[in-house]
């Protein structure tokens, strides 16, 4: 077990170095050097330029610059935004809870609906319900989510007026930031109706973001359930006279879930990149919107740092999924 953990951890380090090389290269590949961009239209005098170059370490050879960069990352220094002059890491930390809140809610939506639909379809195989679920799943999987978002806004916000179009909370509320998660913060505050407001802001983006993972999970659950339901031990359980409910929940679902869990882990990357589109459309103040805006403002340290952080999170999540899978399924531990 320990050996498996160590081997899997060892694979993370080269990947992380590669990612840092990539983000480091990013800033050197952009047209124009950072100092010209910092100076804007007015520019800097020659002396000031040399001073800044020395300050930023741009006068050193490129490999030395990389090691400085790597050293800074390991100390938590990801550079400073050109636009706001704030450290990238602290900007990231203030915006990250919003993205986490959105992705977690989207994931909850995806898992609950996906599992339910998948199980129902497998039980009623070949029936109308099965066909409906498969159609929903295929359509969801092919959905351009930015259009899906617009359609939902058109229906629920514009025509029915049920949900707000953008943001996290109505302007009439003022909630102290405690955890950064609006749902929890509004519950902690004594403002009436703030929680409902936060919830109504969250519903549409979460559904939009959760749609593709929901489709993938529903499909995976269905095929995995169908496979398990055909096994001998299910027939045995049925012959023993166990109730249908008990067979499905206790015997079939448990075994069917193993491949589904892996698929769920793989969805994290998808959720984070889907968050870019979802946050942009719903003006959700998270890291996705922040990154897209930074690209528009040519705020390269933010782009660089943000990319590195997101990639690191995904590497970590993938590692966790693999390790969990190793715990659940002993065969994985010993292969390779």
């Amino acid at each position: 077990m320990l050996q498996f953990f160590i081997r899997r951890l060892g694979m993370v380090i080269p990947t992380f170095i590669g990612v840092s090389l990539f983000t480091f290269a990013l800033i050197h590949l952009i047209p124009g050097d950072p100092i010209t961009i910092m100076g804007g239209e007015r520019g800097f005098s020659e002396d000031k330029r040399a001073e800044l170059e020395a300050m930023l370490g741009l006068d050193k050879p490129i490999w030395q610059q990389y090691f400085v960069y790597l050293g800074n990352i390991l100390q938590g220094d990801l550079g400073t935004s050109y636009v706001t002059s704030q450290p990238v890491l602290s900007e990231f930390m203030t915006l990250f809870p919003a993205t986490v809140e959105l992705t977690v809610c989207a994931a909850i939506f995806a898992v609950i609906t996906g599992l339910t639909l998948g199980i129902l379809a497998a039980i009623k195989r070949g029936g109308l319900l099965d066909h409906t679920v498969m159609t929903i799943s295929l359509t969801g999987y092919s959905m351009p989510i930015f259009w899906w978002a617009l359609l939902l806004i058109l229906l629920f916000s514009v025509n029915l007026g049920w949900t707000p179009v953008s943001g996290r909370l109505d302007v009439m509320f003022w909630v102290d930031e405690v955890t950064g998660f609006m749902l929890i913060d509004t519950l902690l505050s004594d403002e009436d109706g703030a929680f409902l407001s936060a919830l109504s802001h969250l519903v549409l983006p979460a559904i939009v973001l959760g749609t593709i993972p929901m489709a993938v999970i529903a499909r995976m659950t269905r095929s995995s359930m169908l496979e398990v339901l055909g096994e001998d031990y299910i027939r045995t359980a049925r012959a023993k006279g166990l109730s249908k409910r008990r067979i499905i929940v206790k015997h079939a679902l448990r075994n069917a879930l193993i491949p589904v869990i892996t698929v769920m882990g793989l969805q994290v990357g998808l959720l984070l990149s889907g968050a870019i589109l979802t946050e942009t459309i719903f003006a959700w103040p998270g890291i996705g919107k922040w990154l897209v805006e930074s690209i528009g403002r040519r705020d390269y340290p933010v782009v660089q740092g943000g990319l590195l952080l997101i990639a690191t999170i995904i590497i970590m999540v993938n590692l966790l999924v693999d390790l969990m899978y190793g715990v659940v399924n002993p065969r994985v531990r010993h292969s390779k």
Binding site: G18, L26, T139, P144, F146, L150, L154, S223, G269, L307
Partner: protein
């Protein structure tokens, strides 16, 4: 089981692989519908100049935001209505099909060809080359596809060519992994060893002996890659990083349509619908191809 008893009772000519594939493929209704839709959209794209009622850029200043022909206030001249500057939406969609399919084709071809070469190299040579290529693929895979594409476009500048390049790079690891995995299962089989003994060179072994036997999963992945390419290209266009106006690209059409969401539903609805239908068609066909090319893997 029914298949075997059937073949035992009736004496039939052995099917050619292509015929066998086709008989499996047409059994799948979804795949057939997908194929028909793709053929339809390809024909539209090829003959866009003849089919489209208007030029995609022509602005009819007297007909701004005309609703679709069948609704109240519609004009028979503009079936699906007009957009904010009086351009015919149907004509823009038809010309957009040309753009989307072409860019999808380029992206899939570039990533497929590069992916095959790198995958063959990794699987065939092993050792350091293998490790280096696979690490490279892992790094690309550790970043979300769209995010990586956005980052690359941020460096190169927003345009349809640059976003195509970015997406080709983003999809590369899937083809590398797939090729390498198939190469590893094939490389120790007897036919490879025998041609090696017969004196076949490395290039011949890679491309002529091994590659044809690795193609099935690659064809499936390429079809599914098409739908990803169209979807992500539209997403980039929507974010303003892909095709630039006034090009009639589906995603950027949606981006400019956002401001009319309260007043003109048709400007928002149709471009998204055509993206959804095209992507769906490619996914259906991809699933059908997978089942037909490898009946054992049937889901």
């Amino acid at each position: 089981m029914t298949m075997t008893s059937e073949t035992q009772t009736t004496v039939r000519m052995p099917q050619t692989p292509l015929a066998e594939f086709w008989s499996y493929f047409i059994q799948n209704r979804g795949a057939l519908i997908g194929l028909c839709f793709i053929v339809f959209i390809v024909l539209l794209a090829v003959f866009a100049d003849f089919v489209a009622p208007h030029h995609p850029h022509e602005q009819f200043r007297d007909f701004i935001l005309v609703p679709p022909a069948w609704t109240e206030g519609g004009n028979i001249q503009f079936w699906l209505g007009t957009d904010g500057v009086g351009r015919d939406i149907l004509s823009r969609l038809i010309h957009g099909a040309r753009l989307s399919l072409l860019i999808g084709l380029v992206i899939v071809t570039v990533s497929l060809v590069l992916g095959i070469c790198l995958g063959l190299l990794a699987g065939f040579t092993g050792g350091f080359v293998d490790v280096a290529i696979m690490r490279f693929a892992d790094i690309l895979l550790s970043m979300p596809a769209l995010l990586l594409a956005i980052a690359i476009v941020a460096i190169l500048g927003p345009s349809i060519v640059n976003s195509g390049l970015a997406l080709s790079l983003v999809y590369l690891p899937h083809y590398i992994r797939l090729t390498r995995a198939s190469v590893l299962t094939e490389i120790n089989k007897d036919y490879v060893i025998s041609s090696r003994v017969a004196g076949a060179g490395a290039l011949r072994l890679m491309f002529i002996v091994i590659l044809p036997n690795c193609l099935a999963p690659l064809i499936v992945q390429a079809t599914l890659g098409f739908s990803n390419a169209i979807l992500d290209m539209a997403a980039l266009g929507f974010l303003g990083l892909g095709a630039q106006p006034p090009l009639p690209e589906w995603g950027s059409m949606l981006a400019t349509a956002r401001e009319f969401i309260q007043s003109a539903w048709w400007v928002v609805t149709f471009p998204g619908l055509i993206i959804l239908m095209t992507v769906l068609a490619f996914n259906l066909m991809g699933d059908g191809l997978r089942d037909a090319l490898d009946p054992k893997l049937k889901q």
